[in-house]
Symmetry: C2
Subunit: 400 residues, 2 copies
């Protein structure tokens, strides 16, 4: 058996807080397989590298013989988790829930081992469907209004004058009771779930069971540097992304994120992580090389070293020096000259004038490698002109 | 059929607000027997004249063929109605709930007719015991946190830093859904129940049923003039009080309450009520006579005119002119003189010195009809002395 303290040390690379660390050490020392609660609601999943931070921790524990209990919150999905939602979310049909659950399991299996000994699949409808209303109300009696309202998200909604439906208000109670019902020893969650999982400890203690250990992981910023990775912002690397997409998306992050990403999304040694951070701070080619190493490490983790090598080569081929691709679409323009804005209108007909002006303002437009500051700048069209608009969109403007 | 408008007029004597009056007129006009929700929780009941105001309104409607649905909130009693409670109340056992329910029905039958055609008895466990948790949560989804927190009592608790358990918070939702489940047309409640019953209308509308009419009655002050009639203050006339106790308690009210009591607790014509009010305002013997008439009218309502006459005579015999009773206990004291406090110690051996001093301070002690201000005042015991302590406690102190 691995020394419990070593196990906790290994987890520490990506954990934020551990509530009940002494319990964790003691339970690891007992030699008994721990039951690790991995609770999800059954809305349409698109797991990304951020989610996978927790999954990899669970995977480490699976490799030591501990058991992940993958809890599909099918009942609670019918209720709707308000976490991080400013608005009440729509209710799903049972068929949608089942479909989402299947998709969830598929995605989870990219990281987790799925042999029955280390992965048990449960649904919280198992204990809620047969629970008498009086018993549920008894659970409600174990929690106060003030406890629930202590939750940041509820307070924020109230402060903003937004509504909280009562089923949302009681959601944490249900999620908390789940921990008791499934005999959770440990749960590894994003820090936004800390409140709900502490209610889990509360219920276990109230109902005479040992309280689960709660490990939280820090939430990593999105590809664009924003705090939240979200579908609507499309700013994350999904586990189901192709190796090429993973590689390309990681090459697009701001230099300032390289070290963080290498720290939480790879298993590169920590001194390598630090070196990548320093290189990224320099900018230019060193930062670019650091990103290539980061992208290769992530692709290696999910798809193996061979695929990572292939993608690295493909990327270098496409975005050769100066990041100008070897091949790009050509557009013929039968004029002597045109403003940058006019050229942009031709190559990006779907964008509005104001969007195109904004692109210029953001410094995302270049003509023959020179950044353009003024959308009305006139460009002579005597010979080929290379027009870059956005990070990776290139056009060759050819005199007609 | 009685003209619907006349029915509503008759109710108006003791109603405060009618929510949905147009619906009420229309439903009365339909000729169909209305279902009148009379919901109670099953804590130990001690129904008093205040409760009976609503019961008499229901009785009027029963006499017109409408049906009272007496709803025992056995499920919700297990939850605990927080109305008017500053603290979370203890949970009752099923056996206690059943015993209380029986006692409730006994007391209610003092006013209501109990033939099956006009009295149906239901329990809300009928619909809650078999309700799946998901369905209950669906109901919760129809109500917002802000709606619940709009309730005065919850706001007051929060302002006072007192806890609201979550089962208490959702109590109004359960009480509201009851109205839908039992197909309530009308409910007659104290104004403190208005919030919960409006949630009933909310649910009926949300679930596609016609919303119940809500009639509220004003809450009448207690015998001591305090706003609330409560067991701990022992300041009400219970329906199960003997005729003698009813009579005596009503004689003890402040003059200022005579008109209100006559208005809401009797069927005396309104001009008589006004005359009693004027007489009470005069004070002295006219006020006393007004109270006698009030007491007799209440006893008549519950026990018939014969009993009322008997009690009136008994009261007059006991508390003859000056309210000094014809007969009183005699105590022999073998001393020449004693202080008032010493005499009080002899006749009220169970009261502490400080309680007795307080009695004097309150002006409740008199010697030979003269109010005593100083507990240390010396009283000569040469002949009989009449000692009054409290409103109706008299002793004859006799030289030994």
């Amino acid at each position: 058996m691995i020394e419990p303290r070593l196990v906790v040390e290994r987890l520490r690379r990506t954990t934020d807080t551990v509530i009940g660390e002494a319990d964790l050490l003691e339970r690891l020392a007992s030699g008994r397989p721990l039951r690790i609660k991995y609770g999800v609601d059954c809305t349409a999943p698109d797991l990304h590298l951020g989610h996978a931070v927790n999954l990899w921790l669970m995977r480490q524990l699976q490799d030591l013989g501990h058991q992940v209990v993958f809890l599909l919150g099918d009942l609670t999905t019918r209720v709707g988790d308000p976490t991080g939602r400013t608005e009440t979310r729509p209710v799903l049909t049972p068929a949608q829930i089942e479909e989402n659950a299947r998709s969830f399991l598929d995605q989870v299996s990219i990281v987790l081992r799925t042999d029955l000994e280390v992965l048990e699949v449960r649904r919280n409808s198992e204990w809620y469907d047969g629970m008498p209303v009086a018993e549920l109300l008894g659970l409600f009696g174990q929690v106060t209004h003030a406890q629930l309202m202590a939750r940041d998200m509820f307070r924020e909604r109230v402060a903003a004058g937004r509504e909280i439906a009562v089923h949302e208000l009681v959601y944490p109670v249900l999620q908390g009771y789940d921990s008791f019902a499934m005999r959770s020893d440990l749960t590894i969650v994003g820090s936004d779930q800390l409140f709900n999982e502490q209610l889990g400890r509360h219920f276990q203690q109230r109902l005479g069971a040992p309280p689960q250990v709660v490990v939280t992981t820090t939430i990593t910023p999105g590809l664009d540097g924003r705090a939240k990775q979200s579908k609507s912002l499309n700013n994350y690397v999904a586990l189901t992304d192709t190796p090429r997409d993973k590689f390309g998306k990681l090459m697009s992050i701001p230099d300032s994120l390289v070290e963080t990403y290498a720290h939480v999304y790879t298993e590169l040694p920590l001194d390598t992580v630090a070196a990548l951070g320093s290189a990224a701070a320099v900018g230019g080619p060193p930062a670019r090389d650091a990103k290539l190493q980061l992208a290769a490490a992530v692709v290696t983790r999910y798809h193996g070293a061979g695929t990572a090598r292939t993608e690295l080569e493909a990327f270098n081929r496409t975005f050769s020096d100066g990041q100008q691709p070897a091949e790009m679409p050509e557009v013929s323009v039968a004029r002597q000259a045109a403003t940058v804005l006019e050229l942009l209108r031709i190559v990006r007909p779907d964008d509005s004038r104001s969007e195109l002006r904004r692109l210029v303002r953001q410094g995302a437009v270049a003509v023959d490698g020179q950044r353009v500051d003024d959308p009305d700048q006139v460009v002579a069209l005597a010979a080929d002109v290379l027009l870059r608009s956005g990070r990776r969109t290139w056009h060759r403007i050819r005199p007609a």
